[in-house]
């Protein structure tokens, strides 16, 4: 089944970041007949994320969250705006993901803030981050200031962004083969790269080598 993972970095309870994440998830679910949705609330993983930075390995709940994100057909990520950018907690989660975990994954970018003056945060902070991670960012990002929750047009932007995400998930979901698969540690543990190949790679000049072995 197609899987959607919703990553929310809201801190308070109730959190407007979480509310926006939930609205985006609901709108996406409605466009699919069957969709497996996993919610990752980073607040509950905050200690484990710090531990992960210090020990190098994830505690069980964080490991499960990382695994869900890595296997997701699509992501919704929502952060509050802190100091004109995504929050530190939000960034740590994407810092500790294994390289290549988001290669080719469709991602809907969303953010909340107390004022509409942060409304370009998706374009100047989130989009570059997810471009670096080789994710496929949905064209419409959803920014919601406190005043938007009292307004009338947030719903239409949510629907539009969710629709775009659904299209991308439909296009790249399953075995489209359009996306080169990076080799993960798990893959190597399941079936080792033969040593002769490691030896060839070691001796080849950098330009001829590739880490993107299919």
């Amino acid at each position: 089944m197609t899987s959607l993972v919703v990553v929310s970095a809201g801190l308070s309870n109730p959190s407007s970041t979480w509310l926006l994440a939930d609205r985006l998830a609901t709108a996406t679910v409605e466009t699919f007949e069957e969709l497996d949705v996993t919610y990752v609330e980073l607040r509950g993983l905050a200690h484990q994320l710090t531990d992960r930075l210090l020990t190098g390995f994830p505690a069980p709940e964080l490991a499960a969250a990382e695994q869900a994100v890595r296997k997701a057909d699509g992501l919704i990520v929502v952060t509050p705006v802190f100091s004109a950018s995504y929050s530190g907690l939000f960034k740590i989660f994407f810092d500790v993901l294994e390289a290549g975990a988001l290669d080719g994954t469709p991602v809907l970018l969303a953010a909340t803030a107390g004022t509409a003056r942060h409304s370009l945060v998706i374009e100047h902070a989130l989009r570059p981050l997810f471009a670096y991670l080789h994710a496929v960012a949905v064209p419409t990002g959803v920014f919601a200031a406190t005043s938007d929750f009292a307004g009338t047009d947030l719903g239409s932007r949510v629907l539009r962004a969710a629709g775009e995400l659904a299209v991308l998930m439909g296009k790249t979901g399953g075995s489209s083969g359009a996306v080169a698969e990076r080799r993960h540690v798990d893959a190597d543990l399941a079936a080792a790269t033969p040593f002769e190949q490691l030896l060839r790679q070691a001796g080849a000049p950098s330009s001829a080598r590739t880490d993107l072995t299919a």
Binding site: H47, T50, D51, L53, L54, T55, G56, F57, A59, P60, V185, D188, L189, A192, T193, P194, F195, L198, L199, Q201, A202, G203, A204, P205
Partner: protein
Amino acid sequence: MQFGIFTVGDVTTDPTTGRTPSEHERIKAQVEIAKKAEEVGLDVVAVGQHHNPPFVASSPTTTMAYIAAQTERIILSTSTTLITTTDPVRIAEDYGTLQHLTDGRMDLMLGRGNTGPVYPWFGKDIREGINLAVENYALLHRLWREDVVDWQGRFRTPLQSFTATPRPLDGVPPFVWHGSIRSPEVAEQAAYYGDGFFSNHIFWPASHTRQMVALYRRRFEHYGHGTADQAIVGLGGQFFMRRNSQDAVAEFRRYFDNAPVYGHGPSLEDFAAQTPLTVGSPQEVLERTLAFREYVGDYQRQLFLIDHAGLPLKTVLEQLDLLGELLPDLRAGFAEGRPAHVPDAPTHASLVAAAGGPHDTTLHAVDDVTGTTDRDEVSA
């Protein structure tokens, strides 16, 4: 089954007293610890290699030779020898010399090192870590097995008609372990050569160690060195013991909370649950250690980290006394149900026996004036 200790040679402030040992104290302490390890009946002591403060372990073979000269029986090893930034020719020569001086009472464990700044000091790039380990070991392997080597690679200057001296003692190269925490490529490398694989699982969850060792065993069999359960596996471990479990926790917590590697991170309880760290009574350490078999199978070498995080020498020696008392139970526990076809860890004696006895492989140079060798003159 071999039991021993391994160290990284860190100089760390004792968080309970604020006192930091000098480099001199720490280097001498390593020798004391090694002598005590032999005294309490351990089989192996392994020293680290680092090239940056706060570590004193920049010259492992020097320390190993000094320890060997003051001990009788214990095997000297490394944790680890940096195969990435150390010239494989120097490794062949240094450990080759050590093998003769110790009458074969040594082996070595290769590792990559994870300290970014160290690589450029030796003209290397950490992003090439795996490739360096693969190419450098391929050369080291040949230097110990071929008298004259012609070689060209990507990371070191080519060799023409090169002979690494001294040649291996009795014609048998030192046994090599490949150490890794999380890289499947290293398990594959160990399997390819039929060398030992050491999974230092002290910093990572057992679930990962299980996969790494399973991969190594599977590939060891694939490359025709024996069945999977005959592959040569070593494990890292970590404990702090007192006779009473609560005393161990109370005493170790301040060291744990401030330890350079995992301090200020997870709680002692969380870390102990997620990794093999055991803080408690000797009985708890015994049970936890014996349970390692459940996820890696019957294995050959168990090394413990005990002298880190600023623990004073006196405490470390007390830990060794307790480990010594536990040793008969550990040996008996691991012997229980161990199939006869699972080999012990190779030693110099077992490797010589497997090679059909000792061979002198000394290469006598040809005198370019008379065309004779030293050996001709001696026999003439």
